[in-house]
């Protein structure tokens, strides 16, 4: 087996210091292979977005990466020099943000913002950069790209802006794209259009994708593998089928059960009791034990990761269900 494209090991990112430090990402490990789509799923505050930003070195004070390694094609990005990180950002690893209305600078044209992204990494003539920008716009299905290069972000709808952001991410044909809830702010029909383009482009260019989302449905439809985050940790990883059809961790199971779509209309839903603990006051041992139906005293101890045929979980009392 060849080395994975991205190998995150025991990543720890925290905000602030001392007793009030918020351990947003608390020992996260996962891998992404070339061309693979990994869905990173979790509820708000689970640390999934911070994980994405950590990979690109975009954590700003008072936040910082406390420990762990982020091996990208064998090179450790943690502690890498700023200039080395900059050369990777946008070139080898690109990122798409959640709110398409906010990610483009309102006072610069789309063309300026695309051309500068080309020139940040490739010393090509301006004309070439403009051509590449135009081609990228065409690629993501934006009509009359020549004119649109001269337009400003406010002249685009939310869906179109997200297409522009994807076009910018694709400018350098990166090996990996990290997408942070890129369709959450969009309507269902527009979300579907974006997912269609993403799937098409990922297949065409063989990009790997880390798709960060709170929406299990989107991830189920798009991803090859899923990692489920809770309270700053990954509690379960595996193929989409393994994790969603045969969840081992009670939290994954709880998330699935809470979905209205999985219940009979009019019946009571089965929510996970309680609420996620604050990052400043997480219980010791398994952080889910205060909400878990299977919790015992054993859960006060740190659970270890169990691996079984590519399916991993971090639980003292995994759910054992017969394989379908």
């Amino acid at each position: 087996m060849t080395a994975p494209l991205l190998d995150v090991r025991d990543l720890r990112t925290q905000f602030g210091t001392g007793v009030r430090a918020v351990k947003a990402v608390d020992g996260v490990s996962f891998t992404v292979d070339r061309g693979e789509i990994l869905g990173l799923v979790g509820e708000s505050g689970s640390g999934k977005s911070i994980t994405g930003f950590s990979i690109l070195g975009l954590i700003e004070p008072p936040g910082r990466i406390e420990g762990g390694r982020i091996l990208f094609m064998g090179e450790d990005l943690v502690g890498a020099p700023r200039e080395a990180l900059r050369r990777i950002r946008g070139k080898r690893i690109a990122m798409i943000f959640q709110d398409p209305m906010m990610t483009l600078n309102p006072v610069l044209t789309i063309g300026t913002q695309m051309v500068e992204a080309v020139l940040a990494h490739d010393a090509v003539p301006r004309r070439t950069a403009v051509e590449r920008a135009r081609d990228a716009l065409g690629l993501v299905g934006i009509p009359s790209p020549d004119e649109r290069l001269k337009a400003y972000p406010h002249q685009f709808s939310g869906g179109m802006r997200q297409r522009v952001a994807i076009a910018i991410a694709l400018l350098h044909r990166p090996d990996l794209v990290i997408a942070d809830e890129p369709t959450t702010a969009l309507d269902v029909t527009i979300q579907s259009q974006i997912l269609y383009e993403v799937r098409r482009l990922a297949d065409a260019f063989g990009m790997a994708l880390v798709w960060i989302s709170h929406d299990l449905g989107v991830v189920a439809g798009l991803a090859d593998r899923v990692a489920v985050m809770y309270a700053g940790r990954i509690v379960e990883t595996g193929t989409v089928d393994d994790v969603l059809d045969r969840p081992a961790h009670p939290y994954t199971r709880g998330l699935m059960d809470a979905l209205p779509a999985t219940a009979v209309p009019g019946d009571r839903l089965r929510p996970i009791p309680g609420m996620a603990p604050l990052p400043t006051s997480r219980p010791d041992g398994c952080p889910f034990r205060t909400r878990c139906f299977a919790a015992t005293d054993a859960c006060r101890a740190e659970p270890v990761v169990t691996v079984a045929a590519g399916h991993e979980w971090r639980c003292h009392h995994p759910i054992r269900e017969p394989a379908a």
Partner: protein
Amino acid sequence: MAAFSSASDADGVLARAAAGVLRSPKATVAAVACVLLLVTAVVGPSLVPQDPYDLNVLDIMDAKLPPGGEGMDGTVFRLGTDGQGRDMLSAMVYGLRTSLFVGVLAGVVALVVGTVLGLVAAFAGGRIDSVIMRIVDLMLGLPTLLVALMLLALLGQGVWKVVLALVLVQWAMFARAVRGAALVEKNKDYVEAARMLGFSRPRILFGHLLPNCLSPLIVIGTLQVANAISAEATLSFLGIGLPITQPSLGLLIANGYTVLLSGQYWISVYPGLLLLLVVFSINIVGDRLREVLNPRLAERS
């Protein structure tokens, strides 16, 4: 990201402001200075060696004594004397009284007038809003010092005239800030919720909305008091502010202007330092309040 924030900063905007000031050593020192200056202004006349405007105690022979100089009757003038033989320290305390009185009064009146007009503009909307805001634009479009200067050139000197001029040039700032804040708050769901609950308009306006518009008022109010003190001093210095019978710090400085070049620096320098201390202290506190109460910055801290 965090769904909770600390319980300590819960009790209203004033408590938040006070807590914010106390967290900064610099602002705390400035706030203490403000309080001390205020106390000095209030009780000062009973502490200082002479009533500088009682002509009976002045001796022209004591004129222009340098700091530490000894008068004809053996009195030591710590900060020297002015051209009439007046003790500078006493004159400064009296000047401080006048300066603070004019500044605080003008600031408070402008705040009240501006707040009422700003709220009315935000809520009445339509024509009333347009008229009020056009006047505000007009006032803010002209340099305040120029307008005050012109008003006083027309009206003549006097404490109340200076206060009136300062209020006229300052109310618009408050009106615009309150209207801006109120328009933002007005669109929040809690106002709709209050309407759904069948509350009367005054209850919604004053009970629900106004408390959420206080932050900018406190900040601007603080800074405008400093501004008013400074502007009054400038006008008095130019000879069109307060009359010579009620000298503020600005007038004291003006008195020393003519003799400054001949080396009698203390007549201008000491009142100037006191004026600087007053304005600087208030501005430090105001700046800190802006930092603490500015929602755009505070949300992220």
